[in-house]
Symmetry: D2
Subunit: 331 residues, 4 copies
Amino acid sequence: MLRIGILGCGRIGQVHARSIRALDDARVTAVADALPAAAQALAARAGAEMRDVDAILSADDVDAVIIGTPTDSHFGQIMGAAKSGKAIFCEKPVDMSVDNIRACMNAVTAADVVFMTGFNRRFDPNFAALRARIKAGDIGAVELVTITSRDPSPPPISYIERSGGLFRDMMIHDFDMARFLMNEEFVRLHAVGSALVDPEIGAAGDVDTAAVILTTASGRICQISNSRRASYGYDQRIEVHGQRGMLRAENQLESTVEIATETGFRRDPAQHFFLERYEAAYLAEMRAFVAAALGGAAPEPDIHDGLRAQMLADAATLSRASGQPIDLALG
Amino acid sequence: MLRIGILGCGRIGQVHARSIRALDDARVTAVADALPAAAQALAARAGAEMRDVDAILSADDVDAVIIGTPTDSHFGQIMGAAKSGKAIFCEKPVDMSVDNIRACMNAVTAADVVFMTGFNRRFDPNFAALRARIKAGDIGAVELVTITSRDPSPPPISYIERSGGLFRDMMIHDFDMARFLMNEEFVRLHAVGSALVDPEIGAAGDVDTAAVILTTASGRICQISNSRRASYGYDQRIEVHGQRGMLRAENQLESTVEIATETGFRRDPAQHFFLERYEAAYLAEMRAFVAAALGGAAPEPDIHDGLRAQMLADAATLSRASGQPIDLALG
Amino acid sequence: MLRIGILGCGRIGQVHARSIRALDDARVTAVADALPAAAQALAARAGAEMRDVDAILSADDVDAVIIGTPTDSHFGQIMGAAKSGKAIFCEKPVDMSVDNIRACMNAVTAADVVFMTGFNRRFDPNFAALRARIKAGDIGAVELVTITSRDPSPPPISYIERSGGLFRDMMIHDFDMARFLMNEEFVRLHAVGSALVDPEIGAAGDVDTAAVILTTASGRICQISNSRRASYGYDQRIEVHGQRGMLRAENQLESTVEIATETGFRRDPAQHFFLERYEAAYLAEMRAFVAAALGGAAPEPDIHDGLRAQMLADAATLSRASGQPIDLALG
Amino acid sequence: MLRIGILGCGRIGQVHARSIRALDDARVTAVADALPAAAQALAARAGAEMRDVDAILSADDVDAVIIGTPTDSHFGQIMGAAKSGKAIFCEKPVDMSVDNIRACMNAVTAADVVFMTGFNRRFDPNFAALRARIKAGDIGAVELVTITSRDPSPPPISYIERSGGLFRDMMIHDFDMARFLMNEEFVRLHAVGSALVDPEIGAAGDVDTAAVILTTASGRICQISNSRRASYGYDQRIEVHGQRGMLRAENQLESTVEIATETGFRRDPAQHFFLERYEAAYLAEMRAFVAAALGGAAPEPDIHDGLRAQMLADAATLSRASGQPIDLALG
């Protein structure tokens, strides 16, 4: 039985608490949040105690922590959890600074604790099945990966301003997915982007529509495109072209119902946003974390994956600003 | 080079003339129609002569006739064409009377002429491919056939009144398709039907919505359903369930374009009606008739197929009226 | 908080226990099973006590019972639960005898307890959404309903022998769905069926492939077809044709992944069987039962729905045996 | 009646001859080919005379020419046809040299003759319908265009060597499509490419897998990807993301048949290659050319479109070789 402390009782903390409820081998012992009301509510629902972060980090009855606090709190909490030997699940991004992530990586390694980065999409049953087929060789060598990611609507400008920009906040998931599928590091990247959805986003120094090309040393190519707005729901698609065929994962729609009228055949919109679309992924993710924490094994995606994705996001941000391709350092 | 006379220059005669234009080994020599203007127009487009029916039936420069006149003219024209040794292509139904069809069958056999019944759907590339897969054993033994056939909108009441009723006018195509797919004759049939689309159709003694169950001696089952109205276009679908799998042929839509908006993902309506939907089928049908006529071989579907379909249509009409299942005579 | 006793700890009892675990307003207090090991295992997972059936029926700390025992135990358990004033959820069929169901109906009415029949498919999010669209008038008046239901593979012959036959064991779900969608009672029914999948099923006096046509007083038509075997998974589809359009709900596949190779574009099989396919339905069903039990309202589907479905199953069994259509008594 | 001379009786000349056969207002008068046997065969099928190119260019009974000869013959034939006042249909690329295309443009303008560039895909009914919806405002402002183009298998190395490279030979169609859909010229382009399909292609100095990002002055983005090999047929897809929704056109498959077995639901491969996939487009293209030639109007795509596509192909070739984005000159 893994005893878990949840740091951050917002939307994502609640998601993880619900997932843990469905698992037989884990339970939430304690929760913490800067807003006592949020912590209290989640504590009640999860049958857990409300404590402060430090108390959780040093508690004897907590084996693992789930970090779902604001990004700028991650660093201290990771360092504290590593020090007290707890398994760590941390939401993306691990930190806005690559240097800080490296420091976390060293601390985690030194403490020999389990660390998992919250790239939930790897656990989506569709994307996981797609990748299993790549690994099984069903399409032979991968040549061209195309990832499409579009949010239903942009976040508030206040969020945009603190987000680190589209590449670090949104496309970082796609960078991790690209690495997950390609199984070879990227060596060069070129990014373009514009504020087409909302000029306020442009005024805030960010873009809302973007495309990136990445290439590996062996010449494989990945295309990623993002938009902050899709009228038809959360658009999450992957396509992988290979030597012997193509794999693709389509959107999950709200239902399988189709209506046919004089205007044609209409199916439902895509599931609205990440809470619906990745409900199964969040559960599988938590199951994987619990298994890793109980077994002591290094889970995937680990902190190195968190680091690489952040490096790609930084490079894309720079490429977009400079208009030039960026050569990526390895290691 | 097969020299063809077209009897009947209405819509279907024009379709066949256009198909012949695309063939290298056939041409239209002469055309006839009760309306001289119709004959003249088609003669001009086809580069053919306008003649009367008898002149065509006895002409030396005509090897084959295509009969697309009103149903009550078929019998005399078939008998005349058989007598003069011409290959015959006749639109469905061959005749409203099963006895008359038997008489035609005898005449055609005696004269040893090629006779093809115009069940165009057998030549639809999709349905033909589906049936080829059945014959190749891709799904093993056929167990359950489901045929869905819906017109975009009902014909005028004046047409309904002369049509012989839904089962003889519309479902006859599905009866032929059922036989084509099942490869075993049906021994029992139960039909139901209602006038749900338009009470005028009911007042005219016909139905506009109907369903039939047919069974074979070995216990295989076929379901057919018809409606005279489908808001989303001409609905023409087939599904065959067998021992090792299922085959189905979906509708052909007006294009492959899909639009996604806040109401969902919408594709085009089905192709509007038979002229669009079966354009490729009509060409393949004519190609098969020309090949058979030039080669002297008996084409499929032949006059026996025309007879069997009419027998099923008669039985369905009787079953619907009586509310009882009908045992079908073989042979 | 609804305190529930589970009678029967087999597959379906376990499903309901898992659903209850995800609800905030219900918990399992006690469980019973003829096999102590089964009861013990579920009691441990659910955090409940293991008791015998009578103890549960008379317990003060049990507000509602879920009956998932063999069909021949239902009657006594329903009568007992009604007597002690507990809300009742009973798996289909309520009883093999229509008379017994009527007796239960009287007891339930006299005791004024909540009774819900376990027709889980009504709670499938797809089918529920389809029906909501019918009720919203999206396709106008319903004219023709087509229900397709195929199991992945037949149950053991020993099960077939005790099942009451395909119409009572399998198609009963489709009869309930037909009533749910049609919103008008059926007045006539004709059923055909054969043992095509396995001659042993025929030898046991049952069929494995069947089709039924039902009609309502106003002439609306429903087609149902069943097969005990579908190589491609659990085939569960609905299509409703109406005045202004058509609604259909397709199968849920194992994933959204498609692979394209030289043989074409291949998607996954349908979800394998009812536990996967109706996972969301079972949860929604339990949520509805708990809400009804706490609120005291009559849930849908109620015991009358259980009765009507059984009457249709009986009529279909008779029609198939006699080869004749059956007129259905109302009320 | 437009009297047409066909220059080049290879595959594409034959396609156009067949299209003309289906038109009422055009016919082929004469054909020419460097291989007399090819010219003779087409002359016989089309009911035309075999002549040499110069005789056709100066003939009084030829109103228009279709140029389907090797690319290096185009320039002289265009200049000759313009001089003799004939309407001109020329296959892509107009010429490998942008300067030569400009010279042709001047000659065509001076002679005031109709000139149409053979970008057949604009006439594909699906792509044309998609673009009509953009123009109708169905998705609002276009923001992100994604074009996928994959051949079933690479051409022989000997062809690759003379082709001008993937961007000029293959992606040129996609560049024209991108302009057609975007309705705003591109100002910047970045191309990557690799020889992943066949190292011989790399050894010949070309790539077989490539991706390009293009941007317009207003910040709209287009992604194009190409592969010389797709196991599942000729992959031709378009997706346009806009303010109010998304439009996409899927592949046309060989049939609508789907087979379901224990491995899942399988539809046919995409239509094999351009002759099948664009059969309807070729006919519509020829219909548009004949209408323009008879009406004297400038058809789309015109010679300026041929020029712009070639400029994009040149820029992509340079970008790929240099690894740098290219700013595109307008005008």
